[in-house]
């Protein structure tokens, strides 16, 4: 912390030669001219408390916009009196996931089982209704909670399907193999938007007359199938990386195909590709706002709705920054997590 150290650090890292010095000074100048005015706008001159747009001072950010619309941004048009149901579902989810970090490895598979098979039912009943709970139709679902619901649904839908597709791609049976390859390549070759359009607009025409599957469910399944193709590719990578000895050992023990894959191969393969899987799920999370294009309003959609309310015109920047912070926070957190996993795995190998 002494002066000499700082001087040394500056010399090595910023002013090592003449062109580095020029670049450093230039960049510093730009940063110093931007950051203060940004802080000024976002914090010092900003208005945090109020009820209407007129409470906001000119020249600063109007965070009142966020606080007034906060409930809508998080829950959409979900009825006020029923909000506890959404909250409860998410509290159960968070508790379950955090508990996984503290229990013994033996119990972890049960937690996974709970998350994939039991929790979706609990969550669905809580949020949608049934068993004495009032029905809340999907049309009023929205906001950040919908973003999370879709992401969660996408993961638990895409994961098992992706595993099956990955196994199928390596199958010895030609029909199954080529079907899985074609299936995966098809979904990976088209943009998600066309899938959403197909789910929202085209799919109902393909069902028997007068059957009606909920639009949100159609879209969610579309997203799930789309992501399963990417999951399959990641898991296939894991399967390929396994040494052949693993298969031979399992076979020599007389295991059947399914027993071999589910007890020996997949657990190892999936473990090595957890970083890749997490990246796929980050991509899924970042893709959920696309449902705006078929008229479903998750977080970004709610901001778009709020900013075009005639009492709140001109609030786009504040809204987008809020959305950006939330998405950035979760994506960054997860990507750091994958990076740490990658490091851990690479050290385990060596």
């Amino acid at each position: 912390m002494n002066k000499e150290n700082i001087k040394n650090w500056l010399k090595v890292n910023l002013f090592s030669n003449w062109y580095n010095s020029i670049i450093s000074l230039f960049v510093l100048l730009i940063i110093l001219s931007i950051i203060p005015s940004l802080i000024d706008w976002a914090i010092i001159k900003a208005t945090f408390v109020g009820k209407t747009k007129s409470d906001c001072k000119a020249g600063g950010a109007c965070w009142v916009f966020i606080s007034v619309w906060f409930e809508k941004l998080i829950y959409g048009f979900y009825p006020d009196k029923q909000l506890w149901r959404v909250n409860l579902a998410f509290i159960i989810l968070i508790l379950t996931i955090t508990s996984a970090f503290f229990v013994k490895p033996k119990i972890k598979p049960y937690i996974l089982f709970f998350l994939i098979f039991i929790f979706p039912i609990i969550g669905f009943v809580l949020i949608h209704g049934g068993f004495g709970l009032e029905n809340v139709e999907t049309r009023v679902w929205g906001g950040l909670s919908l973003t999370f619901m879709l992401t969660f649904f996408g993961i638990i839908f895409a994961f098992p399907l992706g595993v099956l597709l990955a196994l199928g791609k390596r199958s010895e049976l030609p029909v199954i193999k080529y079907f899985c390859i074609a299936f995966v390549e098809f979904w990976r070759g088209i943009p998600l938007i066309t899938v959403l359009f197909a789910a929202a607009i085209m799919f109902p025409l393909l069902l028997p007359a007068n059957t009606n599957v909920d639009k949100l469910l159609r879209v969610a399944i579309g997203i799930g199938i789309f992501e399963s193709a990417y999951v399959a590719e990641v898991i296939r990578g894991g399967l390929q990386s396994l040494p052949k000895g693993q298969y031979e050992a399992a076979k020599s023990l007389g295991m059947s195909y399914w027993k071999m894959n589910f007890l020996v191969i997949l657990p190892q393969a999936i473990k090595t590709v957890i970083p890749g899987l997490t990246n796929t799920f980050i991509a899924l999370f970042k893709d959920t706002p696309l449902i705006i294009l078929v008229g479903l309003l998750e977080l970004l959609g709610m901001v778009n709705l709020a900013k075009s309310n005639s009492y709140w015109l001109g609030m786009a920047v504040e809204g987008y920054i809020f959305v950006g912070l939330i998405f950035w926070f979760f994506s960054y957190l997860l990507s750091r997590y994958t990076q740490s996993l990658e490091k851990k795995f690479s050290t385990e190998k060596h």
Binding site: L14, S24, I176, R188, I193, F197, L206, K286, L300, Y332
Partner: protein, 394 residues
């Protein structure tokens, strides 16, 4: 003996019923689903008096499109509208890829800079842009940045070249006469460069002498088109955008116009994708171990030689495959155009044309197949390239 009996059982196994059943089952289920959907579609359309088929592609569309690379107006057919959309998609993808590559390489190299501030700044850049949803970035550029530009009569004019206002960016248009001569010049210079490259290789292997092919090529690619255009009498006219006033409405006419929807899309696609490319570039350079650089030095190669001959070729081998994947993603992501009304394949064809005709099945099918074809073409090129560099590896 043991081996052959093992082989026999495996052959037997393949023909076993237990292996045939799942395959037949899959075929059966697949056919059933297709039949189920097709049948329902037919019944539904019949019940609603809807016709199916692609005849509508030949009929007049009746709507205009704001931005098109080929002649198009409302009296053109829906097939033409498809072409307009496809070309607009390719245009955005082309410019997106171009800028994403440049930005990605700059940021990727900066990530390894010894200059602390450059290093950290490029880290912030990468983490910022790749962790935000692309559609949010598009909205941000379109609804906040480009919407806060000045109006037409108060346009920003930069060096009398670039005119910036809320309705778009305008640049002068260069109109060439006899422009085919420039093309001949480029073709001729390319042929010469290939020839020189061939002999340079020969000289390198036989006499161990390095010919500065890159510099010669750079010189030739400028020289020949210039010479050819002088011979062919090529002239250049510059058409500047002109401010026209119609009552109180101002408008720039002439020149090349870039609409805000296009700009927002190109900005966000290139920024978003460049963050991913930067990571590929960084990984590619890091993948070459220090030994390679030191070996190059010990061979007596100077800095630029070792960069050109040793480091870049090897780094590219690592960088190119994942980067091509990013190009593919960028092309697919350009379909987000629909969110801000840029008339691409999704916006103009799967959007406007679909709602004017109601041909949901046909149009979505066409659009999906188009994207699929583009994707498969790009991955074919990628596979071909991968094979090629694998061969070089020996």
């Amino acid at each position: 003996m043991f081996l052959s009996s093992g082989f026999k059982t495996s052959l037997k196994k393949n023909l076993q019923l237990s292996n045939l059943i799942p395959q037949l089952l899959l075929i059966f289920i697949f056919i059933f689903i297709i039949y189920f959907f097709a049948n329902n579609a037919q019944i539904n359309m019949k019940a609603r008096n809807m016709t199916s088929g692609f005849d509508f592609l030949g009929t007049n569309s009746g709507f205009d499109i704001q931005f098109s690379l080929v002649d198009y107006d409302g009296s053109s057919s829906y097939g033409r509208a498809y072409l307009v959309g496809l070309l607009n998609t390719l245009l955005v993808a082309f410019f997106g890829i171009f800028f994403a590559t440049i930005l990605g390489f700059i940021i990727g190299v900066s990530r390894l800079s010894t200059n602390w501030i450059i290093n950290k700044l490029s880290l912030v850049y990468v983490e910022l842009f790749r962790n935000l949803p692309l559609i949010l970035q598009i909205f941000f550029w379109y609804f906040t940045v480009l919407r806060s530009l000045p109006s037409t009569e108060k346009s920003l004019i930069i060096f009398n070249f670039l005119i910036i206002n809320l309705q778009g960016f305008y640049i002068p248009k260069f109109i060439f006469t006899n422009s085919h001569y420039i093309f001949y010049g480029i073709v001729f210079s390319l042929l010469t460069i290939i020839l020189i490259k061939y002999y340079a290789n020969k000289i390198f292997y036989e006499h161990a002498k390095v010919v500065p092919v890159f510099r010669i090529s750079l010189f030739l690619i400028v020289l020949f088109p210039l010479v050819f255009s002088l011979i062919g009498g090529v002239t250049i006219n510059i058409e500047y955008p002109k401010l026209i006033k119609n009552f109180g409405i101002f408008n720039y006419l002439g020149g090349i116009k870039l609409i805000p929807e296009f700009l927002a899309l190109v900005f966000s696609l290139s920024l978003y994708t460049s963050a991913f490319i930067a990571e590929n570039v960084r990984a590619g350079i890091l993948a070459i171990n220090k030994g390679q650089k030191e070996a190059a030095k010990s061979l007596g190669l100077n800095n630029s030689q070792s960069l050109n001959l040793i480091i870049i070729p090897q780094a590219l081998r690592v960088i190119i495959p994942p980067t091509t994947n990013q190009y593919l993603n960028l092309t697919k992501n350009s379909s987000l155009a629909a969110a801000i009304g840029y008339p691409d394949l999704t916006g103009a064809f799967a959007g406007t044309a679909l709602s004017q005709t109601g041909k949901a099945i046909e149009i979505i099918f066409i659009v999906m197949m188009t994207y699929l074809t583009i994707s498969l073409l790009i991955s074919l090129v990628l596979n071909w390239y991968n094979k090629k560099i694998a061969l070089v590896e020996r």
